[in-house]
């Protein structure tokens, strides 16, 4: 049960990193890509941002102890991140610090890092060969992979303390009471396909290319 919810948590964080990554990337490249970049992003913007809200919601509901420990112990980092972009990338920065501090299972971490380098190289090659779609998929994977990387490397722990081994928080210990998880599972199992389905519908409905008729919003 905890594993299922840990997976759900990872799914939402990975989705947030990949999808909001487009938003932040388009924002950073505003000068280079111009307003067309933002216009293309328009319909998805709200849908992308909510992945973070959902991820923190799952964190609170299914892993309340992890939520309390993680967010409050990284107070300044999360504060800076939140203020800087109201909630962007704060959790990412926090998680990446944990990885450097202690990796309990080096093999998956190394495999993951290799995969990360691999997809980034693939993105570069695909772009060079004029295949922007493949390059896009590869960079999206690069954004999502760190979540899998951190999750797999620390498993079965969720939060590793380098100062005091007794303070290390395993996934099972971080999870909410079984009664709470059961309740949430009853709700999530029918709902998750619907959530992902509506997101897919969003992407499908606006799959067309930009043209002069595309509503501009920025």
């Amino acid at each position: 049960m905890e594993f299922f919810w840990y997976g759900v948590l990872g799914l939402f964080f990975a989705g947030y990193l990949a999808l909001a990554g487009y938003d932040y990337g388009a924002g950073l490249l505003l000068r280079a890509a111009g307003r067309d970049g933002l216009t293309a992003l328009g319909p998805y913007f709200l849908g992308n941002e909510v992945w973070l809200v959902a991820a923190v919601g799952v964190l609170f509901g299914a892993f309340p102890r992890l939520e309390g420990e993680l967010i409050s112990s990284l107070y300044p980092a999360i504060l800076a991140g939140l203020v800087a972009a109201v909630g962007v990338a704060a959790a990412v920065g926090a998680l990446s610090q944990e990885v450097r501090a202690s990796v309990s299972r080096p093999l998956p971490a190394l495999l993951g890092l290799a995969a990360l380098v691999g997809v980034l190289l693939a993105a570069r090659v695909a772009l060079g060969r004029g295949r922007p779609g493949v390059a896009f998929a590869a960079t999206a994977a690069a954004m999502a992979l760190p979540v899998l990387l951190v999750g797999a490397a620390l498993y079965p722990n969720a939060l590793v303390s380098t100062v005091d081994p007794a303070a290390t928080l395993p996934v099972a210990g971080a999870a909410a009471d079984p009664a709470t998880l059961r309740l949430l599972s009853w709700l999530a199992i029918p709902l998750l396909p619907a959530l992902l389905g509506f997101q897919a519908m969003l992407w499908w409905a606006f799959r067309g290319r930009l043209d002069a008729r595309t509503p501009v919003f920025w």
């Binding site: 909630g87 509506f198 409905a205 002069a212």
Partner: protein, 416 residues
């Protein structure tokens, strides 16, 4: 420096500003669903133009409000880690449900609605707006489930000092929930309606030519506002009974207060278990505002022969009324939340035990940073709303696509 008052001040600031966005969103989405449905049924273009105009204001408010919600959500973990540690098993569940069931869907639907004008079929497009409205209400409901639980913890047992969920149904039928949820929804109708009436009045004061359009929204806004004001008072006064029974230190009589204090002292040791003296002052102001706004019902008969517009004084009154529902909302939350102090979860977890043990300096930086950020968001929201409202109904949202430009004609060679 003591981090506790700073953390409380920060929560009050964040929650108040967040709620200013929330009531307008919830009120306007209700009116939008009505307007677009009316267009679907009657096919009158005025309803489509109204949907597009008020939809623009709604979207501005939503887009800026989303950031305040993210700060709200992170704040529990940042400043109140005791909540997740001791009561997270119970309190976290409705919050998680809210993000998954309601908010996630709401934003997905809204993105499709904004950009789906003239691209999606009309029925699908209207269904999306209804989806946004329903999930917005669901969102408010689950947040109030979580809030009501802090006011009256039910459906749990304590093992190893941690609250564990035993009866989720009890959370849904919490006596402090039902009337409070009705109160919040009615406050949203009141706010959405009075904002609509006020903006329409502004255009009549400036002698707009869009008489049919703004007459429709003025009437709709005023009627909705008055329905809202009626129910907000009904649900408001109905809460006194439930809250008096569950929180004797807030609304109980002297005997009940003394009994509660004795019980708390026995369980948690000596301390000050009564809320600050001033905590019911905002309640008085809130009730005063509601009684004053309720006089607006006498403007409704002036719809006859457009006297409400021709007399002009009612227009100024309705414009003047716009800020008051927002003020009343903040007063209401102050009375509800300060009135339950010193408890974070009433009778279960003290506010002082729920706060994250960080230094005062960090907390001060956090408070100043977020207060500046959210204050700037709120001001940006009002400036953008005022500008869009002033500009009037020719908005970009949902503008019918221009016919494709004709092929550029190659100039005829003249001397061939």
């Amino acid at each position: 420096m003591d981090p506790l008052p700073l953390a409380r001040l920060q929560f009050a600031t964040t929650a108040s500003i967040h709620f200013l966005f929330v009531i307008l969103t919830l009120g306007l989405v209700t009116l939008l669903a009505y307007l677009q449905t009316a267009y679907m049924i009657t096919k009158k273009p005025v309803y489509q133009r109204l949907t597009r105009f008020w939809g623009t204001l709604y979207v501005i408010n939503y887009a800026l409000g989303i950031a305040s919600g993210v700060v709200m959500e992170f704040q529990f973990g940042l400043n109140w880690s005791g909540l997740s540690r001791y009561v997270g098993n119970v309190f976290g569940a409705p919050l998680a449900i809210e993000t998954l069931v309601a908010f996630f869907l709401e934003s997905t639907f809204l993105g499709m609605w904004i950009f789906g004008w003239h691209r999606l079929r009309q029925g699908v497009h209207l269904a999306l707006l209804w989806g946004v409205a329903i999930t917005a209400y669901a969102s408010a409901y689950w947040i109030m489930v979580a809030n009501a639980w802090l006011h009256n913890p039910v459906g749990f047992e304590q093992r190893d000092g941690v609250a564990r969920l035993t009866d989720f149904g009890a959370l849904l039928t919490n006596p402090t929930l039902v009337m409070a949820f009705g109160h919040v929804v009615a406050a949203a109708w009141m706010t959405g309606g009075l904002v609509m009436a006020g903006v329409s009045s502004w255009h009549f004061i400036r002698r707009t030519r869009e008489v049919e359009l703004f007459r429709t929204s003025l009437r709709l806004g005023l009627v909705t506002g008055m329905v809202g004001v009626t129910f907000v008072m009904g649900f408001g006064f109905a809460q006194f009974g439930a809250v008096g029974a569950t929180q004797p230190t807030k609304f109980g009589d002297d005997a009940a207060k003394a009994a509660a204090v004795a019980d708390f002292t026995a369980r948690f040791g000596p301390g000050d278990y009564l809320p600050p003296q001033w905590s019911q002052v905002p309640l008085g102001f809130m009730i005063l505002i509601a009684f004053t706004l309720a006089w607006g019902v006498f403007l409704i008969p002036l719809f006859v022969r457009d006297w409400i517009i021709r007399l002009r004084l009612p227009l100024y009154l309705m414009l003047l009324a716009v800020p008051f529902p927002f003020l009343a909302a903040i007063f209401g939350w102050l009375a509800r939340e300060v009135g339950r102090q010193p408890w974070a979860a009433y009778g279960l977890l003290r506010t002082a035990d729920a706060v994250t043990p960080v230094g005062g300096g960090t907390m001060l930086a956090s408070f100043l940073g977020f207060a500046a950020l959210l204050g700037a968001l709120a001001i940006a929201d009002w400036v953008l709303l005022a500008r869009a409202a002033h500009r009037g109904p020719d908005v970009a949202l949902g503008r019918p696509p221009a016919p494709p430009a004709a092929e550029p004609r190659t100039p005829e060679p003249v001397l061939a």
